[in-house]
């Protein structure tokens, strides 16, 4: 494993997929994976294959929907798009995540100051 890449935390992939679909509209699995890699500046360690487990999970929860279509270069592929409930879920999760990350950065900052005394 490449140590310089980030290991994905449990549950973060689902959120990334939702946000990607929210921002980009309908995409196929490969497109989603590439998009995430691109946005992260290739910092995320992602086996592209794992995205399909995340997709089926989100679909069963009713947060995304799928249908077969044709890609820009004329290939048959399954396209995913976010549903109304998915958007609602995304906004809740995004708020949670932002709160968590701000708390985490504050906690970590505090440790850095106190460590010297």
């Amino acid at each position: 494993m490449n140590a310089s890449k980030l290991d994905l935390l449990q549950g973060t992939l689902d959120l990334m997929v939702l946000q990607t679909l929210n921002a980009m509209g309908a995409l196929h699995g490969y497109g989603i994976a590439r998009r995430i890699e691109h946005v992260s500046g290739d910092k995320v360690f992602l086996n592209q294959g794992t995205i399909y487990a995340s997709l089926v999970r989100l679909q069963q929860r009713g947060w995304i929907s799928s249908e077969w279509g044709v890609s820009s270069n004329n290939r048959k592929a399954k396209f995913y798009s976010i549903t109304k409930r998915g958007r609602k879920q995304l906004s809740e999760d995004a708020v949670n995540w932002q709160r968590l990350s701000s708390v985490m950065s504050r906690v970590l900052a505090m440790q850095g100051e106190g460590g010297d005394q």
Partner: protein
């Protein structure tokens, strides 16, 4: 919540559409790779490099598919299906093994299910009574010893006192459950078991009538009490289930009674078998002090809401203390017990200890069956080690291996349970036909009910865990490196494997020995009792009960008249040799009364001397063939006008007169006659056992019928040949004296004794069967283990033989292995069995167990069986051909 459900539903449906979803995923993944390759090509990679990079970025395809499956479906369930499929395949691959396992478990579970059907029938069934746990039963506690002294009925004055003074019962009723009435509806008069109950009895129990009504208030007052309620069984049998019976008149004890109701068939209190109910009329006389001695009422009361049983107990014990202070002569030492109705019925039935012993025994048998199956599975686990090793190497987790083996065990056990149910069906049928020794027992239906099914299911699961956990844990601890490398060239492979089996078999031997000794003690104890000299000659005697009703036989003269007339008519029957009447048939537990001896100081009530007391007619001792040892028998002149005389038995002379000269001594019995008088002892007769099923002999007094007539007695006829042939002649003779008088319980004396045995005989015979089954299991266990270990050691034995070991040396070596286990197991079993006689004596009161020879015979038998079981494989080991053994790996 809804989302959760929806998701679960989708996951379940995805199980069914697995193939379709897999195909779709395949297509999707293929598209993914194509897209990736295309992008890579556009970046200028070669075709091969583009594909390689695409695959690297993708990660494992197979992994992605697995993740997808886990995410969309129910992984646990899928694994279970997989394990089951695999287990079924394993079952069919090795049918011999499967059959051995299933049959062993089936036998073990079947005996348990059969015994449990009795537990279910006698202990678990609830009486069909409204909120039975809120019904309390109050009984007296007899200060004397005897069988269940704390379920003694209550006297009428105490019933009144407790009912009126208590603050814990919302309603109380009394029942005399032990009455007999003659029914002369049409044709032959019939004696029926009946109960006389307070008018509130059925209300207290909360049971409505099936037809008509139950008793209403005031029907237990004289004048209004000629009403009757029929049991469902009697209504069917005698009245053809005719519902117009309600309101019609039947003849009971020569008087007209109006039938007001029929009870439902389900209304049955275990141990009580009345066929009809009449009101219990209690008058002023029943409140008098004199009535305190007649204890014949069971008190059924409903607890007030919020009143606990504990509070009711405290309340009643306070009331008991009060009556003890007020009436010390009759109440001294007597207490009272309060139980809930279900508790009381089970306790009073007195079958709990017997069933506990039986369940323990069959539990042991099941443990041995499990030990054998575990042994088989362990042996097979060795054979499957390589297979398991490969599976672990391919990535199967240890938990997964354990689950797989447990699933196999469960499948085996459930198959065993299924076969066991079939076997138990026969077992239950067999036991049900044996459990008919008296009305109370036959009235309890024994079936494979829901409880038994649940029990079999539970036991099967337990067996699966017991049998396969040890092999499973062991197999999962497998070190794959050694296994895959190991070519079983090692001289004695599986040494550590057979250690666990050795422990199991040793335990089996210990249990078998324990069970055999236990069963042996019981069988010996019962044998001794069955073959004891009762003190009289029961065969060929015919017996029949008679109850003279007060309507026609108002006083002593009429009772004596009937007996005279009846005896002389029966004596004229050609096959009859001698005829007598008696208050109690010999060896059927006559009642105990207090006795005073003239010239001895008066003892306080609590230390009064007790003796059993029987009233007999003149020819009793000839009829029963009880030898008169000293003095004389009764004669026709020992009548009401002559001075009172009695006979006593040897125990009376020994224990109460301390072997002084008995003849001429005067004694006074506290019997319920207006004025007890001093009676002279005119003869001594031999002892008779109190009960045919116990070895005790108490002091006993015989009073002449002519001087103390009684309305309820048994007729005994000594026959010249088969006593049953006389039955119809005796009926005719009685009908000539009184056509409306029924005979009760017409049967031979051996049949009377047979009925008294209760379950002990059936139980001990069954126990014998179980013990033999245990021995067989132990033998199979030893045989299986030794045969297996000989098979494993073929190579080693081959080397020994090649190096010059003779066949007798090999046999001895193998035998030693078997005997070591037998010795250790036997010693443990013997240690466990040492306190058995004491335990059994405590469990079966009145019987004495203890036969030291069993402690020698049983271990010897076990050693013999284990030598036999070891010898067969030992012979095989000795005949090993070293060239073959060494070539064969």
């Amino acid at each position: 919540m809804i989302d959760g459900l929806r998701q679960f539903f989708l996951r379940v449906t995805s199980l069914c559409h697995g193939k379709q979803m897999d195909q779709e995923l395949d297509a999707e993944l293929a598209a993914h790779l194509d897209l990736a390759i295309e992008e890579n090509l556009q970046r200028g990679m070669t075709a091969e490099e583009a594909r390689r990079q695409a695959l690297i970025r993708f990660g494992g395809t197979q992994q992605a598919i697995e993740q997808h499956r886990d995410a969309r479906g129910l992984p646990g369930l899928e694994i279970l299906f997989q394990d089951l499929r695999y287990a079924v395949r394993a079952l069919f691959k090795n049918p011999g093994f499967t059959i051995a396992v299933v049959i062993t478990l089936a036998l073990g579970i079947a005996v348990n299910a059969t015994m449990f059907s009795l537990v279910s029938a006698f202990l678990l069934r609830r009486p069909a009574v409204h909120e039975a746990d809120r019904v309390a039963v109050v009984t007296s506690v007899n200060p004397g010893r005897g069988f269940l002294p704390d379920t003694n009925p209550v006297s009428a004055p105490n019933y009144f006192a407790w009912r009126e003074a208590n603050d814990v019962f919302s309603d109380a009723s009394a029942a005399d459950e032990d009455r007999s009435v003659s029914l002369t509806a049409q044709g032959q008069p019939e004696a029926l078991a009946a109960a006389a109950v307070s008018s509130s009895y059925f209300n207290v129990l909360g049971v409505p009538a099936y037809l008509g009504r139950t008793f209403s208030d005031g029907e237990d007052q004289p004048g209004r009490d000629h009403v009757a309620i029929l049991s469902h069984e009697l209504w069917e049998r005698r009245f053809g289930s005719n519902s117009s019976i309600i309101g019609s008149t039947v003849r009971l004890n020569r008087e007209n009674y109006v039938v007001v109701g029929v009870m439902p068939a389900s209304f049955r209190l275990m141990g009580f078998t009345p066929q009809l109910w009449t009101p219990l009329t209690l008058t002023l006389a029943d409140r008098a002090t004199a009535a305190r001695k007649d204890r014949n009422l069971y008190v059924f009361a409903r607890l007030k809401p919020d009143v606990t049983l504990e509070r009711a107990r405290t309340e009643i014990s306070n009331l008991v203390r009060r009556s003890e202070q007020d009436f010390p002569e009759t109440e001294k030492g007597w207490g009272a017990a309060v139980r809930t109705l279900p508790d009381f019925l089970v306790y009073n039935f007195g079958i709990r200890n017997g069933l506990a012993v039986m369940m323990t025994a069959v539990g042991f048998v099941l443990m041995m069956a499990c030990a054998n199956v575990a042994g088989l599975l362990l042996a097979r686990a060795t054979g499957r080690q390589k297979e398991l090793g490969i599976r672990i190497a391919l990535g199967a987790g240890r938990l997964r291996i354990i689950r797989q083996l447990l699933t196999e065990g469960l499948l085996n056990a459930l198959l065993g349970g299924g076969v066991a149910l079939v076997l138990a069906y026969w077992g239950v049928h067999f036991v049900a036909t044996k459990m008919t020794f008296n009305e109370a027992v036959s009235a309890v239906p024994i079936t494979l009910d829901r409880n038994v099914f649940l029990f079999v299911l539970g036991v099967s699961v337990l067996c699966a865990v017991l049998c396969s956990l040890a092999p499973a844990l062991r197999a999962s601890r497998t070190d794959i490196n050694t296994i895959l490398k190991d070519e079983s060239r090692a001289a004695s492979a599986g040494r550590s494997h057979s250690r666990l089996r050795t422990v199991l078999v040793t335990g089996e031997i210990a249990l078998a020995l324990f069970l055999l000794i236990g069963a042996g003690l019981l069988i010996h104890g019962i044998y001794v009792i069955e073959h004891q000299n009762l003190g009289f000659q029961p065969d060929p005697l015919l017996t029949a009960g008679v109850t003279l009703d007060s309507a026609r036989y108002k006083d002593a003269t009429q009772q004596v008249g009937f007996v005279r007339d009846a005896i002389s008519r029966i004596q004229n029957i050609p096959g009859a040799e001698a005829v007598a009447v008696t208050s109690d048939l010999p060896a059927t537990g006559p009642s105990t009364v207090n006795v005073q001896i003239k010239g001895e100081p008066d003892l306080p009530a609590s230390q009064a001397l007790g003796t059993r007391d029987v009233v007999v007619s003149v020819d009793y001792f000839n009829t029963t063939e009880i030898p008169v040892l000293r003095g004389r028998m009764f004669t026709e002149t020992d009548n009401a006008t002559a001075s009172a005389v009695v006979l006593v038995n040897q125990q009376f002379v020994h224990r109460l007169l301390h072997d002084q000269e008995p003849l001429g001594k005067q004694i006074r019995l506290s019997v319920s006659v207006p004025v007890p008088q001093w009676c002279e002892i005119v003869g001594v007769v031999a002892n008779v056992k109190n009960y045919s099923e116990a070895p005790d002999e108490d002091p006993q007094v015989y009073e002449p019928f002519l001087q103390r007539p009684i309305p309820s007695f048994s007729i005994m006829v000594r026959a010249k040949t088969d006593p049953n042939n006389l039955a119809s002649d005796v009926r005719t003779a009685i009908a000539e004296v009184d056509p409306e008088l029924p005979l009760e319980r017409v049967m031979s004396m051996p049949a009377v004794i047979e009925r008294q045995k209760m379950g002990d005989v059936v139980f001990t015979r069954l126990l014998g069967v179980f013990a033999i089954l245990a021995l067989i299991f132990a033998a199979i266990g030893i045989y299986g283990l030794i045969a297996y270990s000989v098979g494993q050691r073929t190579h080693e034995i081959g080397i020994r033989v090649a190096l010059g070991a003779g066949s007798s040396q090999v046999v001895r070596m193998v035998l030693r292995e078997g005997l070591k286990m037998t010795a250790i197991g036997g010693a443990i079993g013997l240690g466990l069995a040492l306190p058995l006689p004491k335990v059994l004596n405590a469990l079966f009161s009145g019987m004495v167990f203890g036969e030291p020879r069993l402690y020698l015979v049983v271990p010897l038998a076990i050693v013999a069986v284990s030598i036999l079981a070891t010898y067969i494989p030992a012979r095989r080991a000795a005949s090993v051909d070293p060239t073959i053994a060494l070539r064969n790996s």
